[in-house]
Symmetry: C2
Subunit: 208 residues, 2 copies
């Protein structure tokens, strides 16, 4: 991405807002000397970022062992169309966090993390669905990254053409916002008749 | 992300389609022994994935030196709401590619990569905007990753609750599609009067 108009932002509130907006975190670690980058659903509680996965997953085992990791969450807000192709870019907000994950063993923190994953996917969903059993909790590895070393980058606004291009070129320039919305719910083929849409989904679609 | 319903897919066409859908690539590399993961705009031409950045960027210098890298591109297609919180997930498509980037020095390949970046952002835009000058081309580092070791993962369809939950729980289950669209163009504050919206943007918005 173009460097010029970016602003590094390090305040906690900006970092947390971007993490909460992004559904997917890309998590990098080193496996036998080589970099690996894997997408995860994630959730934040206070100053800890959580991931979960199967106990059998190689990535989860490396992260749970406390190997150095880097987490990147990026949200794209628009296309930036400049007068010169060189200044084309995207408006976005991203967080990069460094550190070592810790395996979460305490049942209470593990359950709180699972609640955060579910509530992040869809607010209100945790109380509508069946809570995890002891067996399910045991089969899931949850890891937490303390957000001690996290920074944000944000690009907003119009393109940054130079003054000569601004003055001389008859080329349209501006931003095209990128919007995210939700479509019509697709009921599970096995859903029994007479089960209505839940409140959580109604609220989500009411925001359309 | 939940492992069970995923399918690994290795055919070239699937990998290419996912790369072309995702605007942002998360690129991991090792810097002084530690993993780093950075978001980039990217573009694909045939079996090469391109990134560009400032010559001054540390990430670009490491990648251009041919250090081992891992690129991950992820597109989220929907929320998967299960009867149990444990089976909640997202439908998505992702590619993970391993390899070493090569610095692109040949002016012709560099220009073709810049055209691919611009056309990926907005088809038709390359011919509307001012082409890069020799000076601009020189200030930009372009690197290419041969797509020799790339694989895709795709999750689609309904949640995977177990039979007991299907039969016994009165909880709605299904998928909520996640949609991306474009908003009203915001002209650059410096745009002179009388410059109309370009054809590329009209086509983009015509698809709304």
């Amino acid at each position: 991405m173009r460097r010029a108009p970016e602003k590094g932002r390090y305040d906690d509130a900006t970092v947390e807002r971007i993490l909460d907006r992004g559904l997917v975190a890309h998590v990098a670690f080193v496996d036998r000397g080589e970099p690996v980058c894997v997408p995860f659903l994630h959730a934040r509680v206070e100053r800890r970022l959580y991931l979960h996965g199967s106990r059998a997953s190689r990535a989860m085992r490396i992260l749970a062992a406390g190997e150095p990791a880097c987490v990147s969450v990026t949200v794209v807000d628009g296309l930036v169309l400049a007068r010169s192709v060189f200044e084309h870019s995207a408006n976005y907000a991203s967080v990069v966090a460094f550190g070592r994950f810790e395996a979460v063993e305490a049942a209470e923190e593990k359950a709180a993390a699972l609640e955060a994953f579910t509530e992040k996917l869809l607010p209100g969903r945790w109380r509508e669905a069946r809570q995890p059993s002891a067996k399910e909790l045991k089969a899931t590895t949850v890891v937490a990254l303390p957000l001690d070393e996290a920074s944000a980058k944000v690009r907003t606004g119009p393109p940054s053409d130079d003054d000569t291009d601004d003055a001389l070129l008859d080329v349209w320039a501006g931003e095209i916002p990128l919007l995210t919305s939700f479509g019509e719910p697709v009921p599970s083929p096995g859903l029994r008749a007479g089960i209505p849409l839940p409140k959580s989904v109604e609220r989500l679609l009411g925001e359309r």
